[in-house]
Symmetry: C2
Subunit: 210 residues, 2 copies
DNA sequence: CTTTTTATGTATCGATCAATAAAAAATAAC
DNA sequence: GTTATTTTTTATTGATCGATACATAAAAAG
């Protein structure tokens, strides 16, 4: 059954996609409500009735981003066949996604609100948690790999995960600086080569391929 | 001979240091002139007479930053004894500098204006050039190492330099997220271990220590 | 001294910020 | 048709943005 009053004449997800594009290109602080209402085709009162505030709008945009926008980078990590495959996927998919023609360069979660002071503290905290979760996802996969025997038991999974997430976050800066897909992919490939070299267990007594 | 009119009653470098702190903590866009005048102890007309505009002030702050603030990271690269020593210095000095108690976390040049649209285009371009120069400094040192025999002649110095600068830029994000000195140093150490493993010339016919 | 020059303090400029008040319009319930 | 409910449009709100006009104060030059 339809609701009582006058129906909305805009689709919620459609206008959220427009808002995502603005936030992605300009960041949270510098995306003005005038920018957002113009891109979304809404008057301010309609926007505030639907999303509550600029912060509420950004929260819903973030959900959309994680559902459709920047996805495909971190989701497959937990179910990847190996730690190496997870690393390869994260780095290469980031290289592809961050240089996609139809999207703003880099990652919204890394670039939208990098200032610890000044920006909305709640927004900063949400984005920070997302970035921290990236590290945890990698660490948990590495710990499983250490238990499976893919990685040496004494591997510092936390350090490895932090290092790789740091590299991946840096790729957003590189993309925002205008790097093309080939440059980003060369960073990913170098990172992967470094992983292979690092993981080849030099301290182990003898490398056993079985 | 002293100048003709009424002398200034503030020291230029002293107030620039105050401005540096504000820009470093808040970024270019979110540091308001009210923040800056309050921190610098100046009235707006004095500030504008001395520095011309917010952009002009930031340019001078950047010069000060490169002279005294965030220095010690990139300067020694060109004169380092080896490429490995340059890499070790950049990563470890970044870990130390980005977690220094007396300074805001992370690097001003990476964090001050990450938005390509919305922020002042001139400021964005200046910061982008600084980041690009970081890559060039590393690349040139690596090319020299390849000529010296430290690195294999076929080494892709551009890819290596971009990869390392990307990691270092990511460390600013990590620091801004609240990582402590030990965490940053573990990223630096992991990156250095990856370098050592990567550079040990696996494709070469036979490792010759001479 | 008077004149010239530069810096300072007070008060504020128009523009833009995020967010709303109020009334008109469009639907369902009755 | 009438009422109740919700959305839309129009026109603003007070606050803050970066940047200045204006008058006064403090120095050197004559």
């Amino acid at each position: 059954m339809p609701p009582r009053g006058r129906p909305r004449n805009f689709d919620r997800e459609t206008v959220l996609r427009k808002a995502l594009d603005v936030f992605w290109r300009k960041g949270f602080e510098h995306a003005s409500m005038a920018d957002l209402t113009a891109a979304m085709g809404l008057n301010p009162p309609s926007l505030y009735a639907a999303f509550g505030s600029k912060e509420g709008l950004f929260r819903e945009v973030l959900e959309l981003y994680r559902r459709h926008g920047g996805s495909g980078i971190w989701e497959p990590v937990a179910d990847s066949a190996s730690a190496r495959e997870a690393v390869a996927h994260v780095l290469r998919q980031s290289a592809r996604a961050f240089s996609h023609e139809d999207r703003p360069p880099g990652c919204l979660i890394v670039l939208a609100a990098p200032q610890s002071e000044g920006a909305s503290p709640a927004i900063c905290e949400i984005l920070r948690e997302h970035r921290t979760r990236n590290i945890s996802v990698l660490r948990e996969r590495f710990e499983r790999a250490a238990a499976d025997g893919e990685l040496a038991p004494e591997t510092d999974c936390q350090a490895l995960a932090t290092y790789l997430a740091t590299l991946q976050h840096g790729m957003s800066i590189l993309a925002r600086d205008g790097a093309d897909g080939a440059t980003l992919m060369s960073v990913a490939d170098t990172g992967l080569a470094a992983w292979d070299a690092l993981i080849s267990r030099p301290p182990a007594p003898a490398p056993d391929p079985h």
